[in-house]
Subunit: 350 residues, 2 copies
């Protein structure tokens, strides 16, 4: 998945696709430079090497500061079900939520646009930022604006960074699955990625497809109140397939999933077939994968299904001590390893 | 400073230049939407409406979380005295420092690059991020990488967001000058902006001009230990002229400055003359403007001059109850108001 020209390796779209090419790049550029060895999620410390949805650092009083950042470049900036403003806020709120921080303290918003960009368009994006902040119960408290020259930038870049302070013991990593834990998906998978690709390809499904982009911090709070959540992940770039593989590999555990139990919207499934893409491989922007203590699985599932954002929640599998680090999918006709999407680069999906 | 085409107002480079066009834009896009009314810097609360170098929000135990964010688009990404990696870290560390947070807890780093960008180049930028983090005593703890299509983005965009936790009483805004306060500049002004412009224009001064880009958190700590600092500002985009006008206007106070006392490097002054630009109007990336209690002015100045980054520090003026909100410059031949740079858009300076 790498490419070289005469003078050395150059970046390809797959370096931004969320799976192994990207992780190799991040390993060499950042993890090798900045990783601490003292990660201890149960004590509220999650650093760069964890490559979790964000980072956590303990402060006085058995509390931790949780931080997450994302730069959004989605194309088109307005898509069925949302826009880059909603995506930016939801993406950051959701990364905090799946770290166990469901009440964001502050959100930053940094815009980069090019000369000639319409102020009305930017205003509409910021209106969407405002609406989504209200949904999530968070405020933008500081920001930045940069204007590049005309022709320098195709579409706006919006960085949002979220900060929360939580009891150190309530930080939830993506790496703490135990044998027997139930795996619950909060709703239908693939909606965002398939809606965006259909829009781009103009395949005629557009009317019926919508991104699921939404803040899920209230949904996560509901789950955490109903039972013991051991691990969580926000299945964005690389989809559910990448998120599950990361959870298995980081937890040193195997996952066994019942493929027919994974909820997929009918129109999404049809569009995915036409596009030749697996809904498990594409980004979600309003879904959560939960690892839940087996004893609490029914209670958490029920609580999720009672929540407006969790009606389609489903128990899809469990963690096992077999095939460590891998995800086995029971298709109903046989078993196969679920691999991460590679090669299939979906640029500017979020 | 605005422009319209057939379908409405569009962005111009001056919207990114740090002065009044940008503030109007931010007012309409963000302040009108997100501003809280309960700003109280002395209690550790600084929100969006303050348009300070960052935001602060109180948490348990009389402490405040301080956050600042910047997206960096500097062109060229490598310039005399530094590069975009050093600029990104220093810019964020310095914004925290002038809020009174000289010990950053966490730094995020989010990269946006285009397909075909050289991995070696990115690696060199990240090496610079690493070196500057060491200088500042901060760690990158989380990040993000996005790859846009070839031709979509001219040069890398690096967002850095910094987080610190400080006693609420030690938050320093840019708005709390009192009559009589001394104004101290930590060193020569205009170095970054003039070095960058000379490099771009290829004016032949390049060998002797260098950006001042550096973290100043240790310098700020030195000042704060030597005396009571009442207000601070990081004079980046829009230069010292914009920063001083903002401090005067936000503090509802006048400033009287002795122009010949403002330190300007000789080569910078010559290059600025050739370029037809006032060194007071362009960005600095390693300087601080301090408001200091008059009684402590000598002690703070001395402490700064003993610091390797403060050798050229100078007392340049004081706050007065006359000409509220304005900055008066005594040129040695007469007095004039110091106005903010407008029209003179310097795109992609940081």
């Amino acid at each position: 998945m790498t490419d070289t020209d005469e003078t050395g390796e150059v970046l390809t779209l797959s370096h931004g696709a969320g799976a192994s090419s990207m992780r190799s790049l991040i390993d060499s550029l950042a993890v090798s430079r900045f990783a601490d060895d003292d990660d201890d999620p149960s004590a509220g410390t999650v650093g760069l090497a964890a490559l979790d949805d964000g980072a956590a650092h303990p402060i006085q009083g058995d509390r931790s500061v949780v931080v997450t950042t994302d730069s959004h470049v989605v194309d088109p900036p307005r898509f069925p079900g949302g826009d880059i403003g909603r995506l930016a806020v939801a993406g950051t709120v959701n990364d905090l939520a799946v770290m166990g921080a469901t009440e964001p303290l502050m959100l930053t918003c940094s815009l980069v646009v090019e000369e000639g960009y319409h102020v009305d368009e930017l205003d509409s994006i910021m209106a969407s930022v405002e609406d989504t902040c209200e949904d999530a119960g968070v405020q933008v408290t500081t920001g930045d604006t940069k204007v590049m020259g005309s022709g320098d930038l195709d579409g706006p870049v919006i960085n949002t960074t979220g900060v929360a302070v939580v009891p150190s013991g309530s930080v939830v990593p993506d790496s703490a699955l135990s044998v027997g834990d139930a795996i619950i998906v909060s709703g239908t998978v693939g909606d965002h990625g398939i809606a965006l690709l259909s829009e781009r390809e103009d395949f005629g499904f557009e009317g019926d497809l919508e991104s699921d982009v939404a803040p899920v911090n209230d949904l996560v709070r509901t789950a955490a109140e109903a039972g013991r959540v051991t691990a969580m992940k926000d299945p964005t770039r690389g989809g559910v397939a990448t998120a599950l593989n990361e959870m298995a590999s980081k937890s040193d555990i195997g996952l066994e999933l019942d493929e027919p139990a994974i909820p997929v919207d009918g129109t999404v499934a049809s569009a995915a077939e036409v596009l030749g893409i697996d809904p498990l491989d594409v980004a979600n922007e309003g879904k959560v994968i939960f690892g839940v203590d087996a004893e609490d699985a029914d209670a958490v599932l029920e609580a999720l299904q009672d929540h407006p954002q969790g009606r389609d929640a489903a128990l899809v599998g469990h963690a096992t001590d077999e095939h460590t680090g891998r995800v086995v999918l029971d298709t109903g006709f046989g078993r196969r390893y679920l691999s991460e999407p590679e090669g299939e680069a979906l640029p500017r999906i979020c």
